[in-house]
């Protein structure tokens, strides 16, 4: 990455964070607290102790998956707003697969099966807008939004009418295949939800980068995202790229459902990742659709949402919802602006 693109990528998030900090100050002051004390508490409660950090890692794991899912779509010029329901669908299918498995199979043996099940659940949800876009030109933004409501209602029906444990709103526990928690290896993480799924997230980010920048399919995908007509003329089958990208995007989000189902609670429960899909959009945006950027952005947003819980004693944790929205707004508005500014300043420097 050269200096120009680095500037273009880093400036908007920096601007966004500064703006969020200012808005945060105003909100904190309106609640009669000192901003310095609140921010210090926020940092201490997240990165300052092992439990808080474990919670950040747990949240960042799901957000990495949804961020990668949205990022893959954006690289192809497609907006997947459906990660919200794709995570849920992935988690649900994995949980049902876990119900059907016999007990006592080693976790490592069933892991590929669970990844496949979760990818299938999310992938089917992603394939619908993909095929509708490729075949009929239906706008994927609207289709994925509508599909969120449809899929979540369907999962609600299936869970409450078919597979829930009586008197609860969740499915039975997995018979085998549960992953270990980080606290099993490092006792300091005790109590936090962080688990081995984080390794899957790191692998997913690496595969994402390899696929996008080192394979022919990835090249085609990026070509379609930059200039669909040029790609078409160069012999790329745009329709194929479109439905594949949205299907794979859904599958990635679906695998994110394992973080809860396989790593944390070992069952599917409604709303287990609610909000993760929408935050995935923010993560992809701030991470500029780059795997490394997405991981960093996932950590950032995970820190914010965990931090909200930590500071709740001083200021309402709802403040964090506002700050997250401000970050998205600021990044979305400053990306085109920064590009224009940098170009103008370069032009003046050149003359």
């Amino acid at each position: 990455m050269n200096r120009r693109t680095l500037e273009e990528s880093l400036l908007p998030p920096v601007v966004a964070l500064l703006l969020a900090a200012v808005v945060g100050d105003v909100l904190i002051l309106s609640f009669g607290q000192s901003p310095g004390a609140v921010y210090r508490l926020l940092l201490e409660g997240t990165w300052g102790n092992a439990y808080g950090f474990g919670q950040v890692l747990y949240k960042a794991t799901t957000l990495t998956f949804t961020g990668l899912a949205v990022g893959l779509g954006l690289r192809a010029g497609l907006f997947n707003i459906g990660a919200e329901s794709q995570v849920a669908a992935g988690g649900f299918v994995a949980a049902v697969a876990g119900m059907l498995l016999p007990a006592g199979i080693p976790a490592l043996l069933c892991l590929p099966l669970f990844v496949l099940a979760a990818a299938l659940g999310g992938g089917i949800v992603g394939a619908v807008p993909g095929v509708l876009k490729a075949k009929f030109g239906a706008h994927e933004v609207i289709v994925t939004i509508m599909l969120n409501f449809i899929v979540l209602a369907l999962l609600n029906y299936l869970t409450s009418a078919k597979v829930h444990v009586p008197d609860t709103l969740h499915t039975p526990e997995l018979k085998s295949g549960a992953l270990f928690r980080l606290s099993d290896v490092i006792p300091a993480f005790h109590g936090s939800a962080a688990n081995a799924t984080i390794l899957l997230a790191v692998i997913a980010a690496a595969v994402f980068g390899w696929y996008l920048f080192r394979t022919r399919r990835g090249f085609e995908l990026r070509a379609v995202g930059l200039q669909p007509r040029a790609a078409e003329n160069a012999g790329v089958h745009v329709g194929g790229v479109v439905w594949r990208a949205l299907t794979v995007s859904g599958a990635i989000a679906g695998i994110g459902g394992l973080n809860y189902v396989l790593g944390y609670k070992h069952y599917y429960e409604e709303g287990f990742a609610s909000g993760a899909g929408y935050l995935g959009i923010a993560v992809a945006l701030v991470g500029r659709n780059h795997p490394l950027g997405i991981v960093v952005a996932a950590l950032l947003f995970a820190t914010l949402s965990q931090g909200g819980l930590v500071v709740n004693a001083l200021v309402p944790k709802q403040m964090i919802d506002v700050l997250q929205a401000v970050v998205i707004l600021a990044v979305a508005t400053s990306v085109p602006e920064v590009r224009r500014m940098l170009r103008t300043s370069r032009r003046t420097a050149a003359t």
Partner: protein, 292 residues
């Protein structure tokens, strides 16, 4: 009697859809994706409840909702028109912002994370058409889409809105102030959706966290299913409201699981977008920043 009950309940459910869908049609016909309807509604609901509670006057509550909706809509307009940010991203951010702000101020004003105290609404208790007739927002809901249709197709401003949404460059070349028309359209779309939110809060005599519960997205679905014209959107709103009424009536009978009735608006919209029953064509410049 039972038919009348059914119709009045349908109207009662349809009012917020009609108001927000009017905002949706206006915004999208001007070329700006109306993803923020849900946020405008929620903001409007909160402003209406808070000010109606503080002042004791539901009319002041409605005025506050108009201001709140316009402010959120202007944030969207500045982000997408002035800064040319992505309409989808900014629309989603507006919804998250509305959720965050209403939750924060719910804690700040009322010390609660779930609901406001009881707030004064418009008169008229009980059910049926008679009770609805006391509520001015119902009347506004009934006339809003026909009025919007008249504005869009019979007035110079409406012609400008449609021109800006179809071909901004051509509109600019004949002297239409594209940017100004877009700002006005978005601001009014925010106010209309906020009226829908105000109706919800005043009708239920309180604000509850997330009380719009996807109604803004149903209004967006109605906008699209109604093919971006007021008549179609109005019929779609009534259809979706009738489905919801039916679902409420069928509750407990287990005839159809309620979740499947909930899906109806969204499924119909996807079907319409896929062009299974005729092709639905959005405004040509929808979602694109104008290059005036």
């Amino acid at each position: 009697m039972s038919v009348l009950d059914f119709l009045s309940q349908t109207l009662r459910i349809a009012v917020p859809f009609l108001l927000a869908a009017a905002g949706g049609v206006l915004s999208e016909r001007a070329g700006l994706i109306a993803l923020g309807l849900e946020g405008y509604m929620l903001g409007g609901a909160f402003c209406a409840a808070a000010v109606s509670f503080a002042s004791g006057s539901p009319w002041l509550g409605v005025s506050a909702a108009l201001v709140g909706g316009a402010v959120l809509a202007l944030v969207y307009a500045v982000g997408t028109i002035r800064f040319r940010g992505d309409q989808v991203v900014i629309g989603i951010a507006i919804n998250l912002l509305a959720v965050g702000l209403t939750r924060f101020f719910l804690r700040l004003f009322f010390g609660s994370s779930s609901n406001s105290p009881r707030v004064p609404g418009f008169g008229g208790t009980g059910t049926g058409f008679l009770a609805l007739a006391y509520n001015p927002l119902v009347w506004i809901g009934v006339i809003v889409l026909p009025t919007l249709g008249w504005i869009l197709y019979r007035t110079p401003f409406g012609l400008r809105v449609r021109a800006v949404g179809e071909h901004p460059a051509a509109a600019a070349s004949v002297g239409v102030p594209v940017t100004r028309v877009r700002y006005i359209a978005v601001a009014f779309s925010g106010m209309l959706a906020a009226l829908g939110g105000a109706y919800l809060a005043l009708d239920q005599h309180q604000f509850t966290d997330g009380m719009t519960a996807g109604r803004g997205f149903i209004a967006l679905a109605a906008t699209i299913f109604g093919r971006w014209n007021p008549k179609g959107a109005g019929l779609a709103c009534l259809l979706f409201a009738a489905a919801e009424t039916l679902q409420i009536r069928l509750q407990g009978t287990h005839a159809i699981p309620s979740q499947f009735v909930e899906m109806i608006p969204y499924v119909l919209t996807i079907v319409a977008l896929a062009g299974v029953v005729g092709r639905s064509v959005p405004p040509a410049a929808l979602g694109k920043p104008s290059t005036e």
